[in-house]
């Protein structure tokens, strides 16, 4: 009974985390970059939104500005990687650390800024879960629609090819570095947008928000794609799958809390889930695959690359 009672909240929060996971999907799956900026940029989105709301900025405008702030963080990571030659994973960690200071600065040195749901016209709040599900659902639908349109433009296609095969992309005149910066900008913009929605939903922005967000994002991606790839492996179905993955993750999360697991251990649980998803393909290949019969045509029979992106 308690579980059913918690369900609407889990769905609402799951939608928001699913949106964040779409940002992670763009960097991790499309660009083939494990971008750790996310843990910082989701918090940046929350901080920007909370402070702007406090200053009387309308909620819709504050989430757009939060998107821009996150995009800027992504661009910084992208430039650290492409212009300064820092490995992408380190570039993300560096930006994440910078963002901790930036986020504190945004919050005016406080570790928490509350949002008053009565003083502000919020897009969504936990006091009204059906309304929150509707609002979050509409925003998610708009983001998916815009991404669908974008990734099938001339520019968008090259963003996909950049992650899929950078050699081919360069040979076809694609500026791979520019695309990586652009893609990381879009990815972190979406992550920050989710952070802004989360702040409104919870009614506060906390400097520690978003720690481990990348792991939750990856969990949502793995859960979602494990289903959606079986239905139809196309772009929109994948994105919807990722959203579904976020919701499933939060339903499980709430269920586990109700079972009595202390919230302190939930990050461990998230990490184990992701580790398992990452390990399974490797274990299958390494220990459970059938002996391969050498193909008579050698490399010519190449079935293309498997498992990648």
């Amino acid at each position: 009974m308690a579980f059913l009672y918690a369900l609407p909240g889990a769905v609402a929060e799951g939608l928001i985390w699913g949106l964040m996971a779409i940002g992670v999907y763009i960097s991790y799956k499309i660009l083939d970059i494990a971008d750790l900026t996310v843990d910082g940029s989701i918090c940046t989105g929350a901080c920007v939104c909370a402070v702007l709301l406090g200053a009387g900025v309308p909620a819709w405008l504050s989430i757009l500005i939060a998107f821009a702030a996150g995009a800027l963080a992504g661009v910084v990571t992208g430039l650290l990687h492409t212009a300064l030659g820092i490995p992408s994973i380190l570039a993300g960690i560096l930006t994440q650390l910078m963002l901790y200071s930036v986020n504190l600065l945004i919050l005016g040195g406080k570790s928490l800024v509350a949002i008053d749901p009565r003083a502000n016209q919020l897009l969504l709040h936990m006091s009204n879960n059906p309304g929150a599900i509707l609002s979050a659902g509409i925003i998610v639908a708009v983001v998916i629609a815009v991404l669908y349109l974008f990734f099938y433009t001339e520019v968008g296609l090259t963003l996909k090819s950049t992650g899929d095969n950078p050699d081919m992309s360069r040979a076809q005149g694609v500026n791979v570095k520019f695309n990586q910066v652009l893609g990381l900008g879009i990815a972190n913009g979406i992550v920050a947008l989710a952070g802004a929605l989360l702040a409104q939903y919870k009614g506060s922005a906390n400097i520690n928000d978003g720690r481990g967000a990348i792991v939750i994002g990856l969990a949502a991606i793995f859960i979602g794609l494990s289903v959606s790839m079986k239905i139809k492996p196309n772009f929109v179905v994948s994105l919807i799958g990722v959203i579904g993955g976020g919701i499933v993750y939060y339903i499980v999360y709430n269920f586990v809390i109700l079972l009595g697991l202390k919230t302190d251990y939930l990050k461990m649980l998230s990490a184990i889930i992701v580790a398992l998803f990452l390990a399974v393909p490797y274990l299958q290949e390494e220990y459970f695959s059938k002996p391969k019969v050498p193909h008579p045509h050698g490399a010519a029979s190449g079935k293309g690359d498997d498992g990648h992106a």
Binding site: A171, Q172, H297
Partner: protein, 264 residues
């Protein structure tokens, strides 16, 4: 069409792995030349192509394509002049994207890419016709992910992509080396047709001396970072594998050091 002057490139200078890959190379291709390039391992054949493509900058020397000095132009900008096919069939196409998407990306090589639909309806028909010319049945698989194709099919597709927009120079880097003999022959046949039909200036690296003799109007042999043999026209037509081996010995003072080249 292509003019390379005194090109030098040394990898890992000052270390025990120092390797002079290009040592004062000069090469001038006329419009419409189809040049085959042979040479042993480490002769600098692939280094030459990578230099032209702009994978890295040479230490010294200049590269001109169609009168434009591209020596310091970044790789993605230079691509406007070039069509490239790699030795590795996996390298020339995006596996997780559809055949038609790969072609659409190639069709916009050298053009400004905008926020407009990436594959237009009219293009699909055009690509279908292009794919029909390959005679591999790909015209009915426009939306198939390229990763599902065989190595030979991918190489043929890459060839088609490389020849789109009539590049100033088509570069083939041992593009049949990873294929079985039958597929290799088919891809070479497609190569000849595409080069002739589009009158493309072409640089084809090969390990196979017979192929080097049978294709193109001019043949160059590389050794130790420069060109040691350069024959064309009637003289090239009369060449035999034995001639080439003798020429190699004369130029280098050594036996030809690639078993693969002799056996194939």
């Amino acid at each position: 069409m292509l003019k390379i002057t005194d090109l030098h490139k040394t990898f890992n200078p000052g270390t025990i792995n120092e390797k002079t890959a290009l040592d004062g190379l000069n090469l001038h291709l006329k419009d419409g030349d189809f040049v085959t390039v042979i040479g042993g391992n480490g002769a600098g054949k692939s280094t030459l192509q990578n230099a032209i493509a702009g994978v890295w900058k040479p230490d010294y020397g200049t590269i001109e394509i169609d009168g434009v000095d591209v020596t310091h132009m970044p790789e993605h900008q230079r691509a406007a002049f070039l069509g490239r096919v790699f030795q590795d069939p996996m390298k020339g196409t995006a596996p997780d994207m559809e055949i038609v998407e790969n072609l659409a990306i190639a069709a916009r090589r050298g053009k400004k890419r905008k926020l407009v639909w990436g594959v237009r309806k009219a293009e699909r028909e055009e690509y279908k016709r292009l794919l029909e010319t390959l005679d591999l049945g790909l015209e009915n698989r426009l939306t198939t992910k390229v990763g599902l194709l065989s190595g030979g099919q991918r190489q043929a597709l890459t060839l088609l992509m490389a020849s789109m927009n009539k590049p100033k120079l088509l570069m083939l880097d041992e593009h049949t080396a990873a294929l079985d003999p039958k597929t290799a022959a088919k891809v070479l046949e497609i190569t000849d047709r595409i080069v002739t039909e589009n009158k493309l200036t072409t640089l084809m690296i090969t390990h196979n001396m017979k192929d080097a003799i049978a294709h193109g109007n001019r043949l160059i042999m590389m050794y130790d970072g420069h060109i040691v043999v350069d024959v064309e026209g009637e003289e090239k037509k009369k060449l035999t594998v034995e001639d080439l081996l003798n020429m190699f010995v004369q130029a280098s003072g050594k036996e030809f050091a690639s078993d693969r080249a002799i056996l194939s």
